[in-house]
Amino acid sequence: MQTALQLLVTTLQIGAVYILFSLGLTLVFGIMRVVNFVHGHFFAVSALMVGVLVPKVVATGLTIQSAYLIAAAAGILVSLFLALIVYKFGIARFLRDLEGGFILTMGLALVLDGVFLESFGGGVRSMPPIIEGNVTILGAVLTTQRLVLCVVAALLTGGLYWALSATKLGKALRAVAADHEAAMLQGIPYHGLALIGFLLAALMASLAGVLIAPVSIVTPTMGTDYLMKSFVAVVVGGMGSVPGAIVGALFIGVIEAVGGYFFDASTATIAMFVIVIFVLLFRPRGLIPHA
């Protein structure tokens, strides 16, 4: 029972970050039909900014919490700026071109890998805890910091879900994702919305990065690792589907937590990819197909 609870908590913890990450990936795919390989870099750059800036701001005498908030804001801004450049000079020319977009973003990802290694160095960073202390929930122990992470991620996911289902912008985004030509006939500006959708996705990735930075080690190549697993989440859930991405991300969380506990991390990764091969073979549109 103790183990089961601990695993459940770990699943939610891992799943929360993957949800934020996968939502952006699936949104971009739904609206632009682009499999975005640079998504991990929007995530990594904000985490790296936090990792680099927090010690510097703390050195000026501010508390670690306010240092974290300043660094997080800077990280998100840098990430959004990067997304704007990537969209304007790259992806905007490859909207709805699956293969072209795939290859282009792969090349961009390579270039950005190089840029990050040059500018942040290859070293591994870890941060002092932002919030001290542990909490016990039904006998399962976790750090307060991770609990806050989970709650914030859950709130953000809920907020996004609400925004997509209830606001005018969300409806327009969903309309474009369902049938962009019909949406354009109704006067929805596709290209403007594609940019907004792309920035929204980058925002979520950078929020995930900011949230993960204090509880994980930060490296310039961390994005790729998360990207691979989020691909699995998005494919299993159904590319372009918002509920699918949530389900898929929780699924990744379960495999990583349970597989990592009973076997080891690499076995869990193998299992994930084997499952994704089967999903692609038998339900290529995923468990919850996108409209």
């Binding site: 499999v35 490859f94 290859i103 193998i270 990819f273 692609l280």
Partner: protein, 317 residues
């Protein structure tokens, strides 16, 4: 059947093989080997693209070729020639099976399956202890009397396979493959067994990747699972995209140019990622048909400037 330009191929291959006799020193030899093997991998990836599929599994098949050479040489102590063909033969079997299961789906889904497959095999290879685990295998040496001739052997094998791929592409079988890419359903209506044809194409491409892997094992002497991650295919894709996928010469030219540029840039201290990533991005943005798509023929005398029909089709796609 159109002319196979056998005269030009003979001259080119003879020139390339003769050039390896002039190679002196380990650095030049390793560069020649790297160029030749990269060209073969690029041509293999491009051959799969004849049916319109980008096969990430190429990385894995190169890896299996290399591991075949490694296991046969260092564990089983089998002779060189058998070690050379062991990996590629295993690759044919696996690729037929893999193709039979996965070639029913297309485009990005096929790419993603290949992607997942590469990751699974890479991680799994790292968990098998008797082939060295994550550290990989060392000491894959060709016999002593062969060793000084390795660049020549590599070049001969590579040009031979490139010519075979070219002949297959120009044959009726190759035209059928392109027809499948252009419209699979029409190909089916004239009674072609599309799946078997796709598997055949995939197996041929994978075999070449396997041979490239065996060669890589013998010239590199050291292999590890991480050498055969999906990045290998991304690099090959860069060769094809920069050179141009409309012709096998595009893939080969892309490999030669990018490998030379990147080894030059590495010498200057730049990272590999910038060269390959930058090449892919620039080619995608500014040279959608690659170098082969540039209007070379305008520079030629008028009597050569007729564009062959099948090239027009490919460009119009």
């Amino acid at each position: 059947m159109r002319s196979l330009h056998i005269r030009w191929w003979t001259v080119g291959a003879a020139f390339a093989i003769a050039a390896t006799f002039l190679v002196k020193g380990p650095y030049a030899a390793s560069l020649v080997n790297l160029v030749a093997i990269s060209a073969l991998i690029a041509a293999s990836l491009r051959f799969g693209m004849l049916i319109g599929e980008v096969s990430f599994a190429t990385s894995t098949f190169v890896g299996l070729g290399a591991y075949g050479a490694g296991i046969a040489t260092t564990i089983l102590h089998w002779p060189f020639l058998i070690a050379m063909v062991l990996g590629p033969l295993v690759v044919i079997g696996i690729s037929v099976l893999f193709g039979w299961v996965t070639l029913r789906i297309k485009g990005p889904y096929f790419m993603l399956i290949g992607f997942a497959f590469v990751e699974v095999v890479r991680i799994a290879l790292g968990k098998i202890a008797f082939i060295g685990g994550v550290a990989g295998m060392v000491g894959i040496f060709p016999p002593h009397f062969v060793d000084p001739w390795m660049p020549t052997i590599v070049m001969a094998v590579v040009t031979g396979l490139l010519f075979s791929l070219y002949v297959i592409e120009k044959s009726d079988f190759g035209k059928v493959l392109v027809a499948i890419r252009d419209n699979e359903d029409i190909a089916r209506t004239v009674g072609l067994n599309v799946l078997s044809l796709k598997i055949a194409c995939f197996a041929i491409a994978s075999f070449c990747a396997g041979v490239a892997g065996s060669l890589h094992g013998f010239v590199n002497n050291v292999i590890s699972p991480d050498d055969f991650g999906f990045m290998l295919t991304v690099f090959a894709l860069a060769f094809v995209k920069v050179g141009g996928e409309s012709s096998i010469f595009g893939a080969v030219a892309g490999a030669i140019i990018l490998v030379l540029i990147s080894s030059f840039a590495l010498g200057l201290g730049a990272a590999e990622q910038f060269v390959y990533g930058g090449a892919i991005v620039l080619a995608m943005l500014f040279l959608p048909q690659g170098l082969a798509g540039l209007p070379w023929r305008k520079c030629l005398p008028a009597r050569w400037a007729k564009r062959p029909a099948n090239l027009v089709n490919t460009v119009a796609r």
